[in-house]
Amino acid sequence: MKVAVTGLNNVDSPGPGVPVIRGIKDSERFSGKIVGLIYDALEPGAFMPDVADSSYLIPYPSGGLDPFFERLAYINSIEKIDVIIPTLDAELYAFTKLSPKLAEIGIKTFLPSAEQITIRGKDKLFSFCEENGITAPKNILASSIHELYAMPSELKFPVAIKGIFYDAYIANNFEEAAAYFGKISSKWGLPIIVQEFVRGEEYNVVALGDGTGNTTGAVAMKKLYITDKGKGWAGVTIDEPQLIDISKKIIEKLEWKGGAEFEFIKDGNTGKFYLLEINPRFPAWVYLAVGAGQNLPYAALQLALGEEVENFENYEIGKIFIRYSWDLITDIKKFEEITVKGVVVNE
């Protein structure tokens, strides 16, 4: 069995590849090899011991789907890959689009559809939530400054001004909102999302949907340590059934297929949970779920292989992850292998 995984960029804003691989390898039922697929020669996961057996450089899908597929097909001709698990937002559309072609060359995937990925987008999420009775911060899309000034009265300052893909600022008045509108739109384009600002604590859920509306597993977490980039470098599993119930409802309504992360904020005054975002892949903290008793990465592999997977009903509360950085020493030969040949093998 060979499983290829992307997102081995275990850096300050880490990709989920390494924890996904750890989960798969932790399963007693897994015997096989891991192939790392990397976009940068220095993605640490390619060099870490007991992570990937071999890793290959691949081009960015934004450079065209044909060369991207050709490279995957070439790697497959050497490695005979059974399943690819992509873990990064930016590549998901490409893998979803290519999944029929990948199936033709014997590679299975287990991914959300292009439509599912679109619905969970920042610009569509509020409508989805409204239609399905899921509480989310009110928002409007503004494609011009005029639309921003015409924002409906139910949206009161402060508001969050967000880019369609990235970036978010809190604006306390129209002047600030207009300044952030300009800043974000010049970088990320239009429209801009003007969102009700909910003050409170953030909570996260990692989950796996089997594509029929059923939730295979879900684990809720509270970040305990947040870096200046907003990344959780420590967190604890929590017992909040509401978070799990809302997550299951979303998976049911979307018939979500694959891993996902749900980001919530709990209103400090009302105690109500607001859905902020759906990330269409496992988060980098997914190994906490494995440690708490739900090996969701391995379950995702089983689903990709068409195996039946029993739902996880429980997980251990009070399990903590503490992320750390580590200087790995290796030889320049390894770097030469990956830069010259595009592949590095870990003995």
Binding site: E201, Y203, M221, K222, L224, G235, V236, T237, I238, D239, E240, K266, I317, G318
Partner: protein, 84 residues
Amino acid sequence: MENYKIPDNLAVSEEGFLFLPATGESFTLNEIGKIVIGLLKNGSSIEEIIERLTEEFDVDEHTAEKDVNDFLTQLKNFRLVEEI
């Protein structure tokens, strides 16, 4: 005087470490805090807690009552006690 109880889901260790499983928050208690939480856990009333503190420590009833009420205000703010 109102009485309070510790929420069922609050994990309290013997060392005075509190963990709220619903929110992931944790707290540490000092020696007196540990005694008060222990008594609340066993169902003691606020009067009984004040009485116990005045017996065990060199403190008059008025000061003990004020300190216990201050502590309870903190516990209420963090949702670590429920009114009964």
